[in-house]
Point group: C7
Chain length 238, copies 7
């Protein structure tokens, strides 16, 4: 469990104490947890009601897209780094003896590789669309993927796709690394992290990233991931 | 019935006693059951409202997919184990004199067999899709099945499929065993259990699994299932 | 009316007496009935809200499928029994002088017969699908029927089919008897009962069923049905 | 207005008297009517919520189909009677001087006639389907009509058809009379009544029906209908 | 404004007086109006909830169809009268200097004319369907119009058409005048009124209608309409 | 802000004064505004619930169509006037230095021009339908436009179009000016105003309209619009 | 955080002080924030309920289109300016070392460029529609874009597109700059700003805009944007 600390006035504290002494709660911590649950179930986002639909809230935000971004950050982290003449994608592999293979990095043809986080089937169907579409350029590749993301965020009979992708593409003259998020937004990056702890990993990459060799990129990626026992590592080169 | 024990303060206890003495409840146990039902019908998951729809909750989870996983774990357990040169699927058979045949393990062509748990028709339609699609490789097989799972978890006018599958495939050079869950997630495994008690059976397999012969695999599967009187056992070999 | 008996504390009883003396109810029985109706309309299943939709409840159940099973058990009972070289389906016929014919057992070609309970048009459309599909094997026959059941239990814009079927098929080498329920689940049986009192009839069949001759099977079926004045009886043989 | 009588305790009665003396109601009768309206708008059927949708209620009933049956019994009554070599359909005609023709009995080709009650356009569209389909046998005729009924009772985006039909068909060797109700259920009958007072008329037919000549059948039909001033009468013969 | 008169007990009256003296209302009339608005917004029809949907209410009525009939009676009245060898349709014309033409009576080919009330575009689309379908007989004409009415009253994603039509047709041997209402019901009439005050006009026609000459029919129609300054008058003859 | 004046009893006034002295409101005006907002959010139209859907209210009105009419009257006013041999459409132009062109009057071919108010894209799509349909007569033109309006007011999955149109057409022998409103109603007029202040402008036109020359018509239109600095003026002539 | 200042009566202030002293809030500021949140979640727009749907509110507004406009103003600002013989689009570029490229200005063929703000995928799909449609004139270009905006604001199963566009087109004789907003409204401008602070930037452009040379236009655009370190600048010329 996560510890939360907060200061409360003495009067209130004494009142809480009496609640614990006379009420059904075993401790003040238990009382606070119950209060939080009760509060969370009534005090939703200001835009309550707007967040269950693919519609626009009064403040111009589309909450389902933001919740989908939350969902896309679930699962093991992954990192992508561009180097001179190529790009590397890396992610830890599970170590259970029963698991023979997990699919986190998929090759699409010889010149494209995709790393994903979030709902596995959402990611798989995005990759499937890519396989079927056979794009000739990175721009075309982006159109095909954004299309599928977009159809699911603009239609009230669907839900947004809960998957982030890092796509390394050598379809053009240069190796390009693109990050896709559930809203269908794309950014071309030199290095990026997705999945659990993406924010912390991104800050680390911002500090340490230098465009270098394939070996340097792979080394940085694995160190950032905490040097896992087993890892999937895929290189895409021109 | 399951027994639940909990400690309550003496003050509360005395109050409950008086409620039983003066109120309509025959015993304290009955009073507690009534309280639990009343509580359960008001105190849903924090993300109440999100769990009846194929939409994303504020914490990034899609509750319908999780409930479907619950549904997929209903029904008799089943086990799949990979061995050198093949894989075995096993599940207990019903013993009622009136039942002549139950379908738990289906062959799809000569090189694929499927074991399922959960809603029978959901599983049957997944298998039907496989028969119609006639995949040439295990990857293609996975695309076809995930597609059907995914269509039902991403569309608000449908419900997720409540079926887990264990698919043994000899379509490639090697025999591969893949587990599919209602979210469309897939894992390639050496051994796995689905259905009722899947969690306990998986822990047992984690301890005892060694890649061995066909006979050893079948023996382990049946022992894990509690050595049932009757069982369906299907082998897939290269 | 069904009589329900329950014990209540004396205090409560006296309170109820006073309610009858001073209030609008003519008797204590009337008061209890009113209380039950009031309770039933507020205290639905724990998973209230999930039971009006083709969606999965938190406990993994799909309530609409269970309610449809309730609906499928309405109407006159029917029995099917396999014997050496064939199978018999039987159900009582109505005896009103105005009714010239009721359709409970339908022949589909020369080798298939179907007995149904529940909503008549749901059953008729299932049979119609069978006639149109012209299956060549019992497996194919099952795929076609399950498909129609499934489409109605997985789509939120439809309702599940409230019909149970007992299908006797001589499409294969052997005569096979299959039971279908509203969830699309199928079981191959030697003997089975559907419709009103199906549970009691099944227990009776479990005790008395032996694979015998056509005459023995028909005799058992009619006795189990209470030897009705008029009955529809259909035999399917290889 | 319909008179309802009920006994109430004296205490309650005195309380009602005082309500009339001091409150806004002009009489006790008015007070009771107001109470009934108030009650009816809060105390719906036990399965409240299920009755506005084409879905299954917890008790296995589909309320919309039952309400549609209510709707189908609105409008003038009609009677059909089979005799040796034919069948007759009869229904009273309106007598207003402004009305030149009302459509209650429709001929469909030379060998089929249809009498209907309930929503006029629902009936007309059922008949239209029959005209378009041009069935060759009575069974085919039944499939076409049940299909249309069924599509409207199984789909949540539609409403059930509020029409009962009595169809006299000489498409086969014999003249057959079939009754269709909004759930798509069909019964083949020797005699039947639909529309207003159908229940009382059916009981009368049960007592007096004998298979006789065309004249006897028509006489019975008209007498049962109360010997109206004007009537539509249609005979179908082989 | 419409004046409503009602008798109330003196006690209540005095209470209302005091409410006016001490409360925010300027007069007793104002108080009554506020009370009516408050009552109307809470005390809907007994079948509240059923009346916003194209579904059947517990009493077998489809409220949307009845509300649509209300809507169809809005707008200027119109009258149709059959005479020997033809029929006349008549309706007052607006007299505003800015309006150059209003469409109330439409010719469809040489042998059909249509007078409408209610939502103008609903009527226009019905007429458009007629133009496109080019029916050869009056029965065919009725099928085409009823079809469009019916599709809008049986489908939950649509609303009923709020238009009444009076169609004069010389497509057959005789000139026929048919009234269509929003439920798709049709009546063949010798004379009929639609739109505002339709009920009073119909009673007038019932008293004065005699089948006569074209001139007599037109004279009766215009007198019934109050001899308006300007009027559209269309004759259809064989 | 608009000033609203109302008389209240002295008692109430004193009560309001005390509320201002002791409560959070800075003045009585502020208190009244808050009261109005609170009232408006609870005391909706009598037919509350019917006004968010394309369905018919109990009084036969379709509120969405009336709200759409409100929406269609937003935006700058426009005027159309028929003269001998032609018609003129006129509307003020914006004067901001940044705006190079606003589209209020669109030519469709050589013989038709359209002036619109309300939602710009709704109007544009109506005009687009006209361009695509290429009508040969004014009646055909009206059918095409009404069709699009109608589809959006009769279907619950769409919203009504919030646009009024004034269409000047020389497709026939005469120049005709037609007004279209969001319900799909059309009126042929000699002169008309749409958009903001349409009602006042119409009254002015009723007083001053005489059929005259092109110059007189344009002069009247511009004067009615308040002689704006810049204006779009389009003439359609035979 | 934004600071809000407001005057309150002393009495109220003292009451708030006491709430802070005795209640759970740490400061008066915290108390006010809590009050605002509580208020905002209950006191929505007067037309509450209308703002979650693509439907018309009683005041004729379509709130979803207004909320979408809010959403379209999120993200970095952009400016477009017409000059003699061409037009320039400009927007700041992100400066993070990890980002290699952000797409804010897209070329569509040689004669069109598009600058966007709001939801990135909404903008991308608008641009994609443009690429596919290959318009030959600016009017055609506008029809294609408005069509897509419109389909998403008129259909209840979709949500409006949250993207503003500035399109520079040299498809005609002149270079034209058009602004598109989420309602599908378009304005042709000499200069315009979109995205964050659009209102302030527009006022600045209104003051400083003069039609000049390409260099002057680019200079004005960049100065208005605050002379960012990095910027995307695209020129479109005839």
């Amino acid at each position: 469990m996560t510890e939360i600390r907060t200061a409360i006035p003495d009067d209130i504290d004494r009142y809480l104490d009496s609640l614990v002494r006379t009420g059904p709660f075993a401790s003040k911590a238990e009382l606070v947890r119950a209060a939080l649950v009760a509060f969370a179930s009534t005090a939703g986002p200001i835009a309550a009601g707007f967040d269950l639909e693919n519609m626009v809230a009064p403040d111009g935000r589309i909450y389902q897209l933001e919740y989908a971004r939350e969902g896309a950050m679930r699962g093991a982290p992954g990192i992508g780094i561009v180097y001179a003449g190529g790009a590397v994608l890396a992610t830890p592999s599970p170590t259970s003896p029963l698991i023979s293979k997990v699919e986190k990095i998929h090759r699409v043809g010889e010149k494209v590789a995709v790393l994903s986080s979030g709902i596995v089937s959402d990611a798989r169907m995005l990759i499937h669309r890519l396989r079927t579409a056979e794009p000739k350029t990175t721009e075309e590749l982006k159109d095909r993927l954004v299309e599928l993301y977009w159809e699911h965020g603009v239609d009230r009979t669907k839900r947004p796709l809960c998957a982030q992708l890092l796509v390394a593409s050598a379809l053009d003259d240069d190796t390009r690394l693109t990050e896709f998020d559930p809203s269908g937004a794309t950014v071309e990056v030199n290095a990026a992290a997705i999945g659990m702890n993406a924010k912390a990993l991104t800050e680390l990459l911002e500090k340490r990233y230098r465009r270098g060799s394939a070996q340097q990129a792979e080394k940085l990626a694995l160190e950032a991931l905490g040097s896992p026992d087993k890892a999937d590592v895929v290189h895409v080169t021109i």
